[in-house]
Symmetry: C2
Subunit: 107 residues, 2 copies
């Protein structure tokens, strides 16, 4: 029955919020395969370099990735590959929701 501390909830929410964007999900998915430089991620999501950089800052502030500069490039690494496990559950939510929407429509 114990309530979770407000602080804990906020930190958890921050991490989920950091993930809650299509471009950032795409980048995380790519980083799950190995480290990538910003330029590679930019080509992937096809957004302005500055936009990509800001998305990466969001992920970094949340503690999901870290970066290392080597020469002219900055390489990002996914620190918590366990987030990839979220998607099995997320997909099941999507599937169930679609089904339910169809059922409602059928009425």
């Amino acid at each position: 029955m114990k309530r979770i501390k407000q602080n804990t909830l906020e930190r958890r929410a921050n991490i989920l919020k950091a993930l809650a964007h299509p471009s950032r999900l795409m980048m995380v998915d790519e980083l799950a395969k190995g480290e990538r430089c910003v330029c590679e991620l930019q080509q992937l999501v096809r957004a302005d370099m500055s936009t990509v950089s800001k998305h990466l800052t969001v992920l970094k502030r949340a503690g999901l990735v870290e970066s290392e500069k080597r020469g002219l490039q900055v390489f990002y690494t996914l620190l918590s590959p366990c987030v990839m496990n979220f998607f099995t559950c997320v997909e099941s939510v999507i599937a169930a929701h679609k089904e339910q929407a169809a059922t409602v429509a059928r009425k």
Copy 2:
């Protein structure tokens, strides 16, 4: 190497976004223990009833909960308890991040 479809990414992001709020996380955590009426959830998060109701609408639109009216009350149920598994991973991110922040500060 295949890019995930934009559409899939958006739907995934929507679900994560729905979870990414302290009050909603608190409600989801409570609903993981069983169905609850809006009034119970309101007491838990101590916000305006209308605010609670809107948070629940967000969770419902994402397909995470469903609601049933019985008498004067509306009961909400968590449809995908698997989201509770997210938090083990989320906590590890928080722990690692804290550690790293401490390391940086120590320099």
